[in-house]
């Protein structure tokens, strides 16, 4: 099976599993006391946000390796990861307000998760814009790698700064999985959901990577 086919298979599997997680979330997981049914979106929201960050971190790693190895496959992976990351970020940024309106009464709030995801979205958008503006393949790869590394350093710095200076952040701009006080069943649903999102991430990245490879081949051919 080609990468694209494997990717598609994974995505389909992932979506089916996502459906399963949803059934579990809606029917078999207890309803949260204060937030009611609307809290269920949490099981999509949090994993999507964490996956976005995962996409950025992997993008950064691929960028570092690219600068040393100059393998165009690493650049294509970075390109794929960035685009998929943006999709997941968009999911968070749209599901957030949907969740927020019934809970907080406003469409937008500067809570930790939304803020950090918005931030990641801007980083990824900048990355895409840079890629779009450079026509030469190897220059584009090099510039993207530089930006990718800066992005991942920034994300790391934010995390570290919150852990080192906890009192200073009235609105901590970091993603903290809010696990501590979840009952076991909710936690399980959350973990399952996260697993599903990772599967989806891998599937989407594989497909996107295949597209990038095909594009490169067309140019060479």
């Amino acid at each position: 099976m080609t990468i694209a086919q494997k990717g598609r298979w994974l995505v389909v599997t992932g979506l089916v599993m996502l459906g399963g997680v949803y059934v579990r979330a809606l029917a078999f997981t207890p309803v949260e006391r204060f937030q009611g049914l609307a809290q269920k979106i949490f099981y999509v929201h949090v994993p999507a946000a964490v996956t976005t960050e995962l996409a950025v971190i992997l993008l950064g790693l691929a960028s570092v390796f690219y600068l040393f190895l100059r393998d165009p496959r690493l650049d294509r992976f970075a390109e794929a990861s960035a685009e998929v990351g943006m999709v997941f970020a968009a999911i968070v940024l749209t599901t957030g307000p949907i969740w927020g309106k019934p809970i907080w009464g406003t469409w937008w709030t500067w809570d930790a998760r939304l803020t950090s995801t918005l931030f990641l979205f801007f980083l990824l958008a900048g990355y895409q814009v840079l890629r779009g503006a450079v026509t030469d393949g190897s220059l584009r790869a090099r510039y993207s790698a530089v930006l990718g590394i800066c992005a991942v350093v920034l994300v790391g710095f934010i995390h570290l700064s919150v852990y080192l200076f906890p009192t200073l952040h009235p609105q901590p701009i970091v993603l903290k999985p809010s696990k501590p006080s979840l009952p076991a069943e909710m936690l399980l649903t959350l973990v399952l959901s996260f697993g599903v999102f990772v599967v989806l991430y891998i599937g989407f990245v594989m497909q996107r990577y295949a597209i990038a490879t095909r594009r490169a081949e067309t140019l060479h051919g």
Binding site: G126, A133, V153, L154, S161, I173
Partner: protein, 226 residues
């Protein structure tokens, strides 16, 4: 090491000579800063929100835009003069090019800030008082952070289409961090808070500067090699 410093200084001195001889860029930047501060004045309703609440944001938004103007010209200068290729053919160490440009950018932005800060204090009746020295420290550290990353990105952006638009798009997410720290620190300083409350923000700014100076100077050669 000494050679690196000397080369960086040669670059910086050349840039500053050119900048202050033609004066166009620096004058534009100064006028721009004054205009932005004026716009903020007309944009606010003094009865609704106290100036002092807004002041830190006003100052830092202004400085951020001024820094971006400065950053754009750094490598545009080389392109305009068709000299970048010559710099790369010469034995100039790529890192020296980064540090030289960084230094020139810092001086340029410092000049703009040296005019902008008094204007800000004047326009908005800001009670700086004892906080002046710590405030200058905040400004220095934040500016260093802006310019460290900005110098790197401006080298990349100069060879793309729509360079002036691309730089803010790429750079602003990275500036949000030192910007936030600077605004928080400035707010507390103008509020008359003791230095101990501000120290944490200063340390964060310093940490940001160290990390990104290191990363940017390491990455810079990759942006100019062909």
């Amino acid at each position: 090491m000494g050679e690196l410093v000397r080369q960086a200084w040669t670059i910086a001195r050349k840039d500053l000579t050119l900048e202050f001889r033609s004066r166009t860029a620096i004058v534009s930047a100064l006028v721009f800063t004054a205009l932005v501060l004026t716009v903020f004045n007309f944009g606010r309703d003094p009865t609704a929100v106290s100036t002092l609440d807004l002041a830190p944001s006003i100052l830092w938004v202004t400085f951020t835009f001024a820094a971006m103007l400065a950053l754009n010209r750094a490598f545009q200068l080389e392109l305009d003069n068709q000299a970048l290729e010559g710099l790369l053919i010469s034995p100039l160490d790529r890192r020296s090019l980064y540090w030289g440009k960084l230094l020139a950018n810092l001086v340029f932005v410092a000049v703009v800030e040296a005019v902008g800060l008094p204007l800000f204090v004047l326009f908005f009746n800001v009670p700086v008082g004892n906080a002046l020295l710590p405030l200058l420290a905040v400004i220095a550290l934040a500016t260093l952070g802006f310019v460290a990353v900005g110098t790197l990105f401006s080298a990349m952006v100069v060879r793309t289409r729509f360079a002036e638009l691309m730089l803010p798009v790429l750079l602003l997410p990275f500036l949000l961090l030192p910007l936030t720290y600077a605004v928080q620190a400035t707010a507390r300083l103008l509020d008359g808070r003791p230095l101990s409350e501000v120290a944490g923000w200063l340390r964060l700014l310093a940490a940001y500067d160290i990390v990104f100076l290191a990363v940017a100077s390491w990455l810079f050669p990759y942006t100019v090699e062909e």
